[in-house]
């Protein structure tokens, strides 16, 4: 620490920093460093203990996974038992999915309709805003945490358990929950923010990703499959934010891949009977990197193609690449077009596990799975599965023409709910 003012010569512009500003800057750097060091398995288990303590003291409400949600049990990396609710879910949608890959969630809703699972498709949900910001490092922790808790509060009021569709949201929420529970200052400040919109702190007992729901329901889905997929070679890509970020909180199963790799997407591929193949860059990121795809899109695009698509096609000749995150599907799918124009030959269709399961169960490839939004060529895949995509496409065209003439579009209506929304005294449920 220098006593005098220091002058920095940034391209001939002189910026002077006073001693007080230096101290503040140093303090911010130390704070961020301390926050980034959290999140190992021991710390995570400590957080769960502290959550129970805070509930006992009455400081927070925990949204428990009760019997009415009919939970099923899975194991996490440390052997802890995690409860996955299966019915009465509050669909926490993903902005990227709704905007770029609508087939992703409509496939999931269709599967839930087929299995007669009641859910709440709420219009009163805000985006988690994690695509541009990120809980621990680069931006306003309070704003992100407040958005997280607001969504959880809405789910609690509707008496439905939040099911998080996006891996990005999932990772962001795991971090935010950690901060809110462990750090008193953040909790008090966020509570003040929530009070302004007549809400209070409700923390879910488990943060559940939709791929974990597919994992626990895989046998029911496999029973209803219509097409034989045993000749399909499937490569699986697991998103960084589900299993690398806060690695304690994701599903591992000793029977699937020996418990070494996370179970969810691989398990449903195996349950449907397809061939699961392995490739040398399994653990590599897809290149999406939250906002990296917006600010460093050249590197994202090249990385996705040369580190993931090319090795997968060259080593395995797989028919399809399946992932479970918005960003991964977007990046891996849309990054293929530029290298193909440069002259490289390797290409592979990229779809989500929900779309694949829905296709195997007989969903319409265009009305439900919305495959026309995907860039990489999926026609070979559908031919191999035995789905007549040409007539489905003509059917879809006719459907669009009918809507233009004024017909009603086909909507996915959830099955009727058994649980009632919670009684709200005044506006806030916390007295």
């Amino acid at each position: 620490m220098m006593d005098k003012e220091i002058l920095i010569d940034f391209k001939k512009e002189e910026i002077s920093i006073t001693k007080e500003d230096q101290k503040l800057f140093q303090k911010l750097v130390e704070e961020r460093r301390a926050k980034l060091a959290k999140g190992t398995i021991e710390d995570y288990l400590k957080m769960l203990e502290k959550m129970k303590e805070l509930e006992k003291k009455g400081e927070i409400i925990i949204h428990h996974v009760n019997e009415e949600y009919q939970p099923r049990l899975v194991k996490t990396l440390s052997g802890r038992i995690k409860k996955i609710p299966t019915v009465e879910l509050w669909q926490h949608k993903s902005c990227g999915q709704c905007g770029h890959i609508p087939g992703y969630i409509s496939a999931l809703y269709w599967i839930m309709n087929e299995l007669n699972i009641p859910y709440v498709d709420d219009t009163n949900q805000t985006s988690c805003t994690a695509w541009n910001y990120y809980g621990s490092g680069t931006s306003n922790t309070l704003a992100i945490t407040a958005v997280f808790l607001r969504n959880m509060h809405v789910a609690y009021e509707k008496n439905a358990y939040p099911l998080i569709h996006c891996g990005t949201s999932f990772g962001d929420y795991k971090e935010c929950r950690f901060f809110v529970v462990m750090n008193d200052e953040i909790r008090n400040k966020v509570r003040a923010i929530l009070k302004k919109i007549d809400r209070d702190i409700v923390i879910p007992e488990e943060l559940v990703h939709y791929s974990e729901w597919l994992h626990v329901m895989r046998n029911e889905i496999a029973e209803r499959k219509k097409y034989d997929v045993s000749n399909i070679k499937v490569a699986v890509h697991a998103a960084c934010h589900t299993y690398k970020l806060m690695s304690e909180d994701y599903t591992y199963d000793d029977n699937i891949l020996n418990g070494i790799r996370p179970a969810p997407t691989s398990s449903i591929v195996l349950a449907l009977g397809a061939k699961l193949v392995d490739y040398s860059t399994w653990y590599d990121c897809c290149g999406f990197g939250f906002r990296h795809i917006l600010t460093e899109r050249e590197i994202s695009r090249s990385f996705a193609y040369f580190r993931k698509i090319r090795p997968i096609v060259q080593e395995t000749q797989a028919d399809v690449l399946i992932t479970h995150d918005t960003g991964c599907v977007t990046t891996l799918d849309k990054s293929q077009v530029v290298p193909l124009a440069h002259g490289y030959k390797e290409t592979i269709p990229v779809i989500s596990d929900s779309q694949f399961a829905a296709l195997a169960m007989g969903a319409h490839p265009f009305k439900i799975c919305q495959l026309h939004w995907h860039i990489a060529d999926w026609r070979n895949l559908l031919n191999k599965m035995g789905i007549d995509w040409q007539s489905a496409y003509d059917d879809y065209k006719k459907y669009i023409e009918d809507i233009k003439k004024g017909a009603k579009p086909f909507l996915l209506i959830p099955p009727p709910r058994k649980l009632q929304p919670r009684v709200i005294k005044g506006k806030s449920i916390v007295s």
Partner: protein
């Protein structure tokens, strides 16, 4: 015409935030690229090649060993003393004798190819023969 020449002088891929970490040869910025009717030339069609070393090619070091006193390349265990005393290395950061010996011994073809065309070799050899050898012999004796 002069406008085009000035544009070309700007480094390719200058808009990439981490541009300094990427070697020029790895950036492919197409002048014309067509994505089925959509124009993707320039920035929209830029790709960056990976830099992973994938193989060892020992044919080069076998050639070096056939030169007079070339067998001594096997004595090098990368202590770095040569670069530490090298006056050229202190002036030109890309001239690193330890590094040159290493990539030749290991046969990293991709790294050797990056050095082709560096004319500092010629200048350096002359400098070494004139000054350094005489200095070193004086130090040792």
């Amino acid at each position: 015409m002069t406008e085009n020449k000035e544009e070309k002088k700007e480094r390719k891929g200058q808009y990439i935030i981490e541009r300094e970490y990427i070697e020029d040869e790895r950036i492919i910025e197409p002048e014309k690229l067509d994505l089925g009717g959509v124009d993707a030339s320039g920035r929209w069609g830029l790709i960056i090649l990976p830099r992973v070393i994938t193989d060892f090619d020992h044919s080069l070091v076998e050639e070096v060993k056939k030169l007079p006193r070339g067998k001594h390349i096997e004595n090098c265990w990368q202590c770095g003393l040569c670069t530490a005393v090298c006056p050229i290395a202190h002036k030109e950061p890309r001239f690193n004798p330890r590094y040159f010996i290493y990539i030749v011994k290991m046969g990293y073809k991709s790294e050797i190819n990056k050095l082709k065309g560096l004319f500092i070799f010629a200048k350096a050899v002359v400098y070494v023969l004139k000054h350094v050898l005489s200095m070193l012999t004086q130090l040792v004796l």
